[in-house]
Symmetry: C2
Subunit: 212 residues, 2 copies
Amino acid sequence: MGSAAGERAVNVRGAAPKQDRSRATRQRLLESAVTCLAEHGWSGSTVTVVAEHAGVSRGAAQHHFPTREDLFTAAVEYVAEERSRALRAAIDRGPADEAAASPAYTAVRTLVDLYTGTLFRAALHLWVAATNEPQLGPRVAALEARIGRETHRMAVELLGADEREPGVRETVQGLLDMARGLGLANLLTDDSARRERVVAQWARLVEQGLQG
Amino acid sequence: MGSAAGERAVNVRGAAPKQDRSRATRQRLLESAVTCLAEHGWSGSTVTVVAEHAGVSRGAAQHHFPTREDLFTAAVEYVAEERSRALRAAIDRGPADEAAASPAYTAVRTLVDLYTGTLFRAALHLWVAATNEPQLGPRVAALEARIGRETHRMAVELLGADEREPGVRETVQGLLDMARGLGLANLLTDDSARRERVVAQWARLVEQGLQG
């Protein structure tokens, strides 16, 4: 009995690193999938390409994600959640010491920045591919809705918006649409100088819109 | 000499229908290319697919457009120009009798509508493909810049905006970014009800922004 308990203890000790390894592999695959999607697009991003990028065998990748669709929708969701967590932590820490910037400017700047990085590029490739791939369409539409709701909640918090006031909800929604459009405008060329001027002006207009 | 002149006359008469036919074929190819791109995406839109859709032989298609890149960049440019012409004619005719709508609302509505049809879908597929296709990238970036400038000019006219006033240029730009973002939001699901509410609110914000 003493020996059996000892064996269990060993198993428990042995199981934890194995689970950790499995989780680390999964995370590497998810992060690699987003990187590959952003860099090579949907048609260039096969499971094999992602597995290679992650330094994982194709079999191990398929153990975690049976289909290509599983891998890429999970990847965009995972990275979006990681980003939400980071942004929420930043919100909880409170505003940084940006002497000159108004709170509305800082909020608009932060939201617009969400749409200019690797995640937006990856998501865009997935959204566009989903328009022509029947097995991808409904899953990506559901994913887009989840990410959209979460981003909207964060925007409301960042802006300190009171959505009970008429027009405020639509002001926030339109701002996120603008941020998405600015992301699109940054796809082929560096649009940062123009974007900066648009952010400065629209921070003022959004501030007015939030007053209901 | 009389006979030679007669021959020339026949040639001239014979040449006109041939040129017309050639131009009609070219137009059919361009319109088919945009339709195919919107429906099947870049990877599903080969020259063969477009030629078939247009009812033209592959050889004839290649006579007009030596490469796939030629065909699709020309197609998006052609359809964008056709749309500009139609919109300019509508602007010249003056506002329709929309009793309840403010001029700003009508202008914002018209601009947003530019980004919800077949042309936007086709252009989006081309833009996204251009991020991964070196032979497409610079051409599409140049095309995007040309279409963007023309759309901005039309927006300024439609809104009656005075860009010498501070902030007005950025108000118009941000509005077009928002319109592009709304187009993206309409890609996988019918977003028209939400879009309508955003347009109503943003028309008010734009009106304030245009006052400088």
